[in-house]
């Protein structure tokens, strides 16, 4: 095991890694920017090193500063957390060249799964379902029709150069496809000066379901079941839960097997997440691999009883996982709510500042991961995550009850937070029934204003 490890991150995930290291008996070195100089969690570090001014690109993202800190502090390993340098193959490569263990996959594996085209090729090669579509650009109406008939309706036309919904058309039959083809071309031409389109299967009302994997460096790859992260706003996850209300053991086994096959093909090690879209009929499609610990990892920790961050460090230190797929059991139901320093009444504008009053929830079934406390300053320079409120109870209904009472207990004053949004979400009949899709939050906000 490592004697000394550097934590190249900040906020709640830096604290999470600190906790894992302290429990493993590893000395910690935590880097910080000038904006985080007074962060309370730094008190828990064995050593702290200021690596730069507030902007992330000059501190937490600055490879030479981080590596230099690792060298002067004489650490054996660096844990990057999530964000910042976590999925940076170059950084992992520099660590290797400096003889420092990067707690994560190899640079090659990061690069392989980080390139979305390559990742999809890997998935296709191992037989994992990917969203079917045209191999390249669609040159003509006839080609569009042929492809659509092959993969089946509904399909979506997307501008090759596009984004933001422009040059995009959904078609449910030949007729709407032909109309859509010409309309989308014209729109794409107008918006991007490039009329080329491609076409793929349109997944209606999908859920976002991801599989957590753990792979040691001895060749053992296991999956720890899924997390359902369907509640999102502008592709930012708000709520995550396990098990998914839409996944049964058979589907879990199939998705798990697909995730493991992809990881194996990418020579993936350490903790990782394979993201899928799940459609209402139970078909799932590979989206991408996240080559890092996820924000929402506590959901999986709760239902499996495993400590994922400790596992990451053990794996990086060369230890075998020490258990098998059959040992992984999903117990009870866990839900996480991300509490962000954002104002739901002002279109989720960031709301940094000093926390004047802070009463965290507690009691049975509640876990809170936060670097915040009464008197803490939430700086404006970084992401707005203030706290992750996790509940774990025997079943989904009890978990929701616990979440609701925990949300009501939670007092944060001085900054605006997404707590009121969560109170609405956890009282919504569609969520209670488990009948949501990735568009749910935006429809809810749209229907009654934000």
């Amino acid at each position: 095991m490592f004697r000394r490890l550097l934590i190249a991150n900040r906020g709640e995930i830096a604290l999470r890694i600190l906790r894992a290291c302290r429990e493993l008996g590893i000395e910690t070195v935590v880097v910080y920017s000038e904006a985080d100089r007074d962060a309370a969690y730094l008190r828990l570090a064995g050593e702290t090193i200021c690596v730069g001014p507030a902007p992330g690109r000059r501190s937490y993202l600055d490879v030479p500063s981080i590596i230099s800190a690792a060298e002067i502090a004489d650490v054996e390993a660096i844990h990057p957390g999530y964000g910042f340098l976590a999925e940076n193959a170059h950084f992992a490569e520099v660590c290797r060249s400096c003889n420092i263990r990067f707690v994560g996959p190899s640079p090659e594996a990061i690069a392989a799964v980080g390139d979305k085209v390559r990742a999809k090729e890997i998935a296709r090669a191992v037989g994992a379902p990917v969203i079917p579509g045209s191999p390249g650009k669609i040159a003509s109406e006839e080609e569009a029709l042929a492809t659509a008939r092959e993969i089946g309706y509904p399909v979506i036309l997307k501008a090759a150069a596009g984004g933001g919904g422009r040059g995009m058309r959904i078609a449910h039959n030949d007729f709407s496809l032909v109309n859509g083809f010409h309309a989308a071309r014209a729109e794409a031409e107008a918006a991007f000066r490039d009329s080329s389109l491609y076409l793929e299967k349109y997944v209606e009302r999908p859920r976002h379901v991801e599989i957590q994997i753990l792979a040691d460096e001895k060749g053992t790859i296991l999956h720890l079941g899924e997390r359902d992260c369907t509640l999102q706003r502008r592709h930012q996850k708000l709520v995550e839960e396990a098990p998914s209300p839409a996944v049964d053991p058979e589907l879990r086994a199939r998705m798990g097997a697909a995730a493991i096959a992809i990881a194996k093909a990418a020579k993936y090690t350490n903790a990782g997440t394979v993201e899928f879209l799940l459609d209402p009929s139970g078909d799932f499609y590979f989206m991408e691999v996240n080559a890092r610990i996820q924000v929402e990892h506590p959901v999986t920790e709760a239902v499996t009883g495993l400590d994922l961050v400790q596992s990451q460090i053990r794996i990086a230190a060369g230890e075998p996982l020490g258990f098998r797929q059959g040992d992984v059991q999903i117990r009870g139901h866990a839900i996480e709510a991300r509490v962000n320093a954002e104002d739901p009444l002002e279109n989720f504008a960031p709301s940094p500042g000093r926390i004047r009053h802070f009463i965290p929830p507690g009691g049975p079934g509640v876990r809170l991961d936060t670097h915040a406390h009464a008197g803490a300053e939430i700086p404006p320079h970084y992401d707005s995550l203030v706290a992750k409120l996790l509940v774990h109870r025997a079943d989904r209904r009890s978990a929701i009850s616990t979440m609701r009472r925990a949300l009501e207990e939670f007092v944060i004053e001085g900054i605006k937070t997404t707590l009121p949004l969560h109170q609405r979400l956890f009282a919504h009949p569609d969520f209670l029934r488990g009948e949501v899709d990735t568009g749910f939050v935006e429809r809810m906000l749209g229907s009654r204003g934000s």
Binding site: E34, R37, I49, V51, P53, S65, V94, R356
Partner: protein, 147 residues
Amino acid sequence: MDWKSLGRLVRFMVRQDLVEVEVEEEGKRLRVRRRDGRPAPEGGAGPGPAAAAASPVPSAAAAPAEPGIAEFRSPMVGTFYRAANPEAEPFVQPGSKVEPETVICIIEAMKVMNEVRAETAGEILEVLAENGQPVEFGQPLFRIRTG
């Protein structure tokens, strides 16, 4: 809130000697303020834990306000060297006069020796870091009398 409740609120305020009440809920907002000339001074103890956490990290103390004297802080994380090599003379000593372009130390980061320049004209008063020791970003390295 209707007029009756408002009357009740105002009587309540009179009885309790309140100056101002402001309520805002579900898009509605009410503020009631009674005549009072005195401003509320700042400070004092309240129910809120407004006190900031004492800094857990020994921050590089700001230089006392001596006019014309500046602390030169490390522009990067690394190992501080006062000379180009172990046999060489230090770049500067207390008393050395420096120009903006004068190299005053080297900081080694990722095996690279970075020459650090004074960036101001003046006189070195004190060397605050030790040769061969690690320094963090923003750590005071020299005191310089500028100008």
